[in-house]
């Protein structure tokens, strides 16, 4: 029987034990990440790619005094583990001292548990089940005389970390996703769904949403560049604010002064109605109760009713900046510092449908594409709309529009926004739709 470091917990624990036992470093951390990712892609109403990828990795961080080194391997037999431990030690011995290295975390207290992170049926979803979901999507498309492209995916992940100071954590999670772009002659429409349990997703219902957008958006009209009231549905809003995780909400950009939060903690930076948190406990989300160095994770309020409140930390930056470790380390080594991986934007009081009311002339954005940072300090980003841009006139969606490029400051936009009352998961974040006044479109494209 082949050893499997995705589903066999005893094999995973044995690998961790072995790495710690063999290491001669002053401190040692062993991290096992195993995953089986299954994904079926379709286009033109047929499946053109389908796969199951299974892999794992043991990463060993060795610390000799204040020198550290990391080595990793996916060979988890005795020889592979011995080799990776030796390489980590050798690398650490070559590294200069980092005076700020605080040692590995030693908080071994139990973490908050998150219920229902793992569903066996989802973790082991067979290819036929994915194909059946595609078949349901295709049936909807044919009824509308259009076609779809997208994917149906499931995954099974194990993350386990232990260190020589007594920390030991293990997490198992399943996840699934359906992604649909409905395509017609002159338009396209988008829908997505994410769930830890595959049976919580309804392929036909999602397909109907995408198809309806595609059909309603046919023969799109041209929008002149300018500032408009814009409603960003959750998928679009997730991409819009996602950059803040990288450029602002971690301790590293805060420390180096490049975050818009630098020097502004406690100050008003957004609208009173905006509260943004990193919260692994959000039931709809994709949270994990500890980070990749085994520290317990804590919910962190990043923006509290428009005020810059805090950022996330790992053990390194917590010690360096005299802050509590919030448990947001990425696997070592990483160039980005700690990051929030589970953003939650608190809901507003108006329903998503209600956001439309009172919009005399505006646009609805279903999805965005290729967002990139133009100016870090001003949090200006640029990007394109795709797969469902609609005109809003007198509180009603009236017709499709050709796609537009926007250039907008994230922080400034969140100073003139209204949030919907329904929370939706989009990838690893949970957030509502948002209405932004004066959203800046700078040019258009041909479709």
């Amino acid at each position: 029987m082949a050893v499997d470091f995705v589903t066999d917990d005893s094999a995973v624990q044995e690998a961790l034990d072995s790495a710690l036992r063999l290491s001669k470093a002053d401190e040692t951390e062993a991290l096992v990440m195993g995953s089986e990712h299954a994904l079926t892609r379709y286009t033109h109403n047929y499946i053109h790619e389908s796969m199951v990828e299974r892999n794992w990795q043991l990463s060993v961080r060795a610390a000799i005094g204040k020198r550290t080194g990391v080595a990793s391997t996916n060979r988890l037999d005795a020889e592979g583990i011995a080799s990776v431990v030796a390489r980590a030690h050798e690398i650490a011995s070559l590294a200069p001292e980092d005076a700020d290295f605080p040692g590995l975390p030693d908080d071994a207290t139990p973490c908050d548990d998150i219920p229902a992170t793992y569903d066996e049926a989802t973790a082991a979803l067979p290819p036929q089940a994915r194909a059946d979901a595609v078949a349901q999507i295709v049936r909807v498309m044919r009824r509308h005389d259009i076609y779809a492209a997208g994917y149906v995916a499931s995954r099974n992940d194990t993350i386990a970390v232990a260190n020589s100071k007594g920390v030991r954590r293990t997490f198992r999670g399943s996840d699934s996703a359906i992604n649909i772009k409905a395509i017609g002659e002159t338009s396209s429409g988008y829908a997505e769904g994410y769930a830890r349990r595959f049976t919580d997703l309804d392929p036909a219902a999602l397909a109907e949403v995408a198809a309806r957008k595609c059909v309603d958006g046919a023969n799109p009209e041209v929008l002149s560049p300018g500032k408009y009231t814009a409603i960003l549905e959750p998928a679009a809003f997730r991409e819009f604010i996602g950059y803040l995780s990288w450029i602002a909400f971690g301790a590293q950009p805060l420390e180096q002064g490049s975050s818009f939060m630098s020097g502004k903690l406690g100050q008003k930076v957004m609208g009173d109605n905006v509260t943004i948190r990193d919260d692994f406990t959000q039931p709809q989300g994709l949270g994990m109760p500890f980070d990749f160095e085994g520290a317990p994770r804590w919910p962190v309020t990043l923006i509290e009713r428009g005020v810059a409140d805090d950022v996330v930390y790992d053990s390194y930056y917590a010690a360096k900046m005299h802050h509590v470790n919030t448990g947001h380390a990425l696997p070592a080594p990483n160039a980005y510092g700690p990051l929030p991986l589970n953003l939650v934007v608190d809901p507003g009081v108006t329903s998503a449908a209600g956001l439309l009311a009172g919009v005399e002339r505006g646009v609805l954005i279903s999805r965005t594409w290729y967002i990139r940072l133009v100016d870090q300090q001003q949090t200006i980003i640029t990007g394109m709309t795709r797969d469902g841009l609609f005109a809003i006139e007198d509180g009603r969606i009236t017709h499709g529009l050709k796609n537009m490029r926007f250039n907008e400051s994230i922080v400034e936009a969140l100073g003139r926004c209204e949030l919907a009352s329904e929370l939706v998961r989009s990838e690893s974040h949970v957030l509502p739709a948002v209405r932004i006044e004066g959203f800046n479109f700078t040019s258009g494209t041909e479709f």
């Binding site: 990463s59 990391v70 194909a131 492209a149 080594p333 594409w369 290729y370 200006i380 990007g383």
Partner: protein, 489 residues
Amino acid sequence: MCEVALEFEAEAQRALDTASAKGAAYADVRFGSTRDEHVEVRNGVVAGLSDSESSGFSVRALVDGAWGFASSALIEAGEIDRVSTLAVDIARASRAVQTQRIELDLAGKFIASYATPVQIDPSTVSTGERVAYLLDVDKEMRAVSGVTVSRAWIDIWHTRKSFASTEGSRIEQQLVQCGSALSALAVGAGDVQDRVHPGTGGLYQTGGYEVINDAKLLENARRVGEEAVALLTADQSPSGTADLVLSGDQMSLQIHESIGHALELDRVLGWEANFSGTSFATLDKLNTFRYGSDIVTVVCDMTCPKALATEGYDDEGTPATSVDLIRDGILVGYMAGRDTAAAAHVSCAGVVRAEYWGRLPMIRIGNVNLMPGTAASLDELFDGIKQGIYMESNRSWSIDDKRLNFQFGCQIGYEIKNGKRGRLLKNPTYAGMTPEFWASCDAIGDQSTWVAWGTPNCGKGEPLQTARSCQASSPARFRNVKVGVGYGG
């Protein structure tokens, strides 16, 4: 090329036999191993020192015109049987939703090996020496008052791969790719400015440690630090319309986004529609569409020396070759794989590659090179510009999902006035529509200014895969381009 002994011959044959026995009309198997060494320093300390290795195999099976793919890290007989069977089962499941059959372009039977030409074996430069060098580079940057964060890094990637197919091919390859860069971040005056050398994110090429040496980090560290600090108080780059000269490394990304991705045949056929998108350069435009001015000639050359994507064969066993994409401004070709080539009746480009042994191979931008022109220097490109902007090294890049509407920002700019380089400009951006932009190209630097710029992290596919591509280019000049977008333009 020479005689080849496949490292996993018995295991490969077992996988192919199993897939065939289960019903595959065609199958291929790839065994691979990778080793990635990374050293990074940040503000005088080692921020990352890592050595990562990975090995395993994957099986791709075609059953009744449908693909199945499976991979595993465990190279054992039982696992080979399981994965080979799973690939066939996945393909069978895909038949349930099949309106088109996947067909394959004819391939030869290749029994061969390939190794990257290496002048300096990276293993002859110890990790300690690499660390010491980067610390020197870092110290040089931090000697500039006002540099807030200094970073420098070296990457060395070794890849070994063995390919076998039911058509009889057996191909063994050993690739070496190296890269390095430095970065100076300056924060002040209410602004953040970042400069990188060389190019946008470093110099990444196939080859040995000579690639690291060619980057000349130490020689450029102080200049780059000084530029980052000077940018904080530089004038804002203007908005409006201007003549534009782009550095070779910025041209590399312009080519990557507006030509490379647009001419991937899987995108053209709609196979990437949901994620990476499709392409405006549809099949009906082949051989007639004017993509750019008549000095614009672009080839995909998988044999190009030093270029980051160069290898002997791609991951479905197609030999490296050179395919014309744009000739004298006219669209004449695509980057195709065996299945897309059969669907569109074009030739394979040898560009079907996977991120590593465990990922599904797909069309990736290879070495998409803009052929050099005649301008001998930047000064010659500036000549004839009354009022314009020179932009260097990318800072942001965005383009629509059919590769038409783009907007790029660069790290640094200079005013061009009456043919001469003028004042420093910060936050330069430019925008346009792909065919109009390339039609406005009226001068390209010559061979002496041509560099094989590598892109080490191109994203595509679902699940997302990163790939290593190259876009060799010289600097070039464009007329009447929209500039300053993003800052009010």
